[in-house]
């Protein structure tokens, strides 16, 4: 196994792990803010949770991008041929 494939594997692992950090923190903040809002205003719960779900999926997308990059590195690496 040459250096290029070892580097690819390490980079894929780093991409997923660091790519998961940011979205995890952001989703925690979003959920906390939504809980706060629902506790203050329970009658707006429907709208808040719908917007929350869409927002969470948007935030999660950044992690998914990192996953796609990692899979590209592992399975479709253009440098490895």
């Amino acid at each position: 196994m040459d250096y290029l494939s070892i580097a690819s594997i390490f980079c894929a692992a780093f991409a997923v792990s660091f790519g998961a950090l940011g979205p995890a923190l952001a989703e925690g903040r979003a959920v906390a803010a939504a809980m706060d809002a629902i506790a203050r205003q329970p009658e707006a719960g429907n709208t808040i949770s719908r917007t929350l779900f869409v927002g969470l999926a948007m935030i999660e997308t950044t992690a998914i991008y990192c996953l796609v990059i990692a899979l590209l590195l592992l399975f479709a690496n253009p440098l490895l041929g």
Partner: protein, 237 residues
């Protein structure tokens, strides 16, 4: 392990390679079209249970379109509703044993994203004409033209990667867990996958609607916006 990025051809019809995703897509299309035809064949004024359920679906889509963009749903109902229903059925088709959702392959998602890209042009041109469509690129001010042109492509690309990544990662994770633990263990993940599939279908449809209505809104001539304020100004004088 198979790469989730390429798809394997099952058989060939002439030069055309047929993959599992194509078969599933056509099956879903047949089910949706036949179902829509059979279920809506004899509509009556006093709805039966079946028709009430159908009307519930349509009115929910209408409400969502109106709430998210404020646009009148009639011209968009068909496209946005079909997009939502197709992606939803495609995402949930993984419930059938042996079926991999077609949205977990690059080609299906790319085709859907291209559809959204073309429909933005179509609805933009139909709403405000070619002039209005081109004016929508200079929306806040003409400095933004290069950015807006780039955005019209990148936002569609990000929709495509978002749908692909979410569905594919669900399938991938379930495959890994099933190969490690086997029976019953992947079930909670599959339940989570159902939620992801629903949310992703909703997001895809809502984003398509937002892009379309933003293009139509930006393409409107300035005078149309100023109209409601003119009478009030005269009244103040």
């Amino acid at each position: 392990m198979d790469s989730p990025l390429d798809s394997v051809a099952l058989f060939h019809i002439g030069p055309v390679a047929i993959t599992q995703a194509i078969l599933t897509t056509w099956a879903i299309m047949a089910v949706l079209v036949l179902g829509a035809y059979l279920l809506s064949r004899n509509l009556v004024l006093m709805p039966s249970k079946r028709q009430a359920a159908l009307e519930l679906i349509v009115s929910t889509i209408d409400i969502q379109i109106r709430e998210t963009t404020g646009a009148e749903p009639a011209p968009y109902r068909g496209f946005i509703g079909t997009l939502f229903l197709f992606i939803l059925v495609a995402n949930w088709s993984s419930l059938l044993p042996g079926v991999e959702p077609p949205t977990a392959t690059l080609e299906t998602d790319a085709a859907l994203a291209v559809l959204v890209f073309l429909s933005v042009i179509w609805f933009g041109v139909r709403g405000t004409g070619w002039g209005g469509y081109f004016r929508s690129f200079a929306a806040p001010n003409p400095v933004m033209i290069p950015l807006n042109m780039m955005e019209s492509i990148t936002r569609v690309f990000s929709m495509f990667v978002r749908l692909f990544g979410n569905v594919m990662s669900g399938v991938f994770v379930i495959g890994i867990v099933a190969s490690l633990a086997g029976l019953l263990v992947p079930i909670p993940l599959m339940a989570l996958d159902l939620l992801t599939g629903l949310v992703q279908a909703y997001i895809f449809a809502v984003l398509a609607m937002v892009f379309i209505s933003a293009t139509v809104e930006d393409g409107r001539p300035e005078t149309a916006d100023a109209d409601p304020s003119t009478p009030s100004r005269e009244m103040e004088r």
